[in-house]
Subunit: 151 residues, 2 copies
């Protein structure tokens, strides 16, 4: 069900946001607030997994499973907030995020694929799989931030 | 899988946050930011469903299904942010949210049950069920805000 839903969400996103745009009456400042909220929550749920992998806190498979599942949902949420109408809003987004369409989409796709892999390993309580999948998720965050977020 | 996970998350929450607290090194201002982020995203995904139910925008069962599923996940996310350490942080939370433990938990439980019902109807593409379930979700938001959020 979950995968089916995520697939449906991706399909919607692939429509170029046309159907979403019809709904999106949200003002630019609200869109920025919403996308930043999604990033804040991604950090909330990824952070503890990172700490467990580093060994700063004990590994807890239940928390990893919960957090990775939340992260998988959250990985769908920020992107429609980078609407062209937000270009002049105050934020750390570099102007190139609005012009690098296909590159940005590829980065999103790869991040979402990485979180899906992490989520599957986490729900299977496969600690080795979680450790293996974590790097790609963290790299997804970092790569996009390096490219599209001001320091 | 999803329900099992949500159940597991609720079970964790029912531990009184003991296992989460061991992890929660987050500072009070971060906890406030995180809980506000979850509220912001709940509004992002509930708003369009409300608009469709009111008839302001056309009903779209795919978007309702996606949004309600996100909302179900998001309904799990704000509450650990109301940690006692955040009591003196600037926010609209009334002091009573930190002292009304059982009443707050009952409100959370009922809100989560309402979002689960909405999510199930939405995924079944049951528009009548969505319309029937929506009221309890909106009432959950409003009831808690009336009781525990400053105007």
């Amino acid at each position: 069900m979950r995968t089916k839903l995520l697939t449906a969400a991706l399909a919607l996103a692939a429509l170029g946001g046309a159907s979403l745009e019809a709904l999106a009456q949200a003002k630019p400042d609200v869109l920025v607030k919403q996308r930043q909220a999604a990033m804040t929550l991604q950090a909330k749920y990824l952070g503890p997994i990172g700490a467990m992998i580093k060994g700063t806190v004990p590994y807890n498979a239940d928390i990893v499973s919960r957090n990775a599942t939340y992260l998988e949902a959250l990985s769908q949420m920020p992107w429609d907030g980078f609407h062209p109408s937000t270009q002049s809003e105050k934020s750390k987004a570099k102007p190139s995020i609005y012009t690098d369409g296909p590159k940005v989409q590829a980065a999103i796709d790869s991040f979402q694929a990485a979180t899906a892999k992490l989520g599957a390993a986490a729900r299977a309580k496969d600690e080795a799989g979680v450790r293996a999948a974590f790097g790609a998720v963290a790299k997804g965050c970092g790569g996009c931030h390096d490219a599209y977020r001001e320091k």
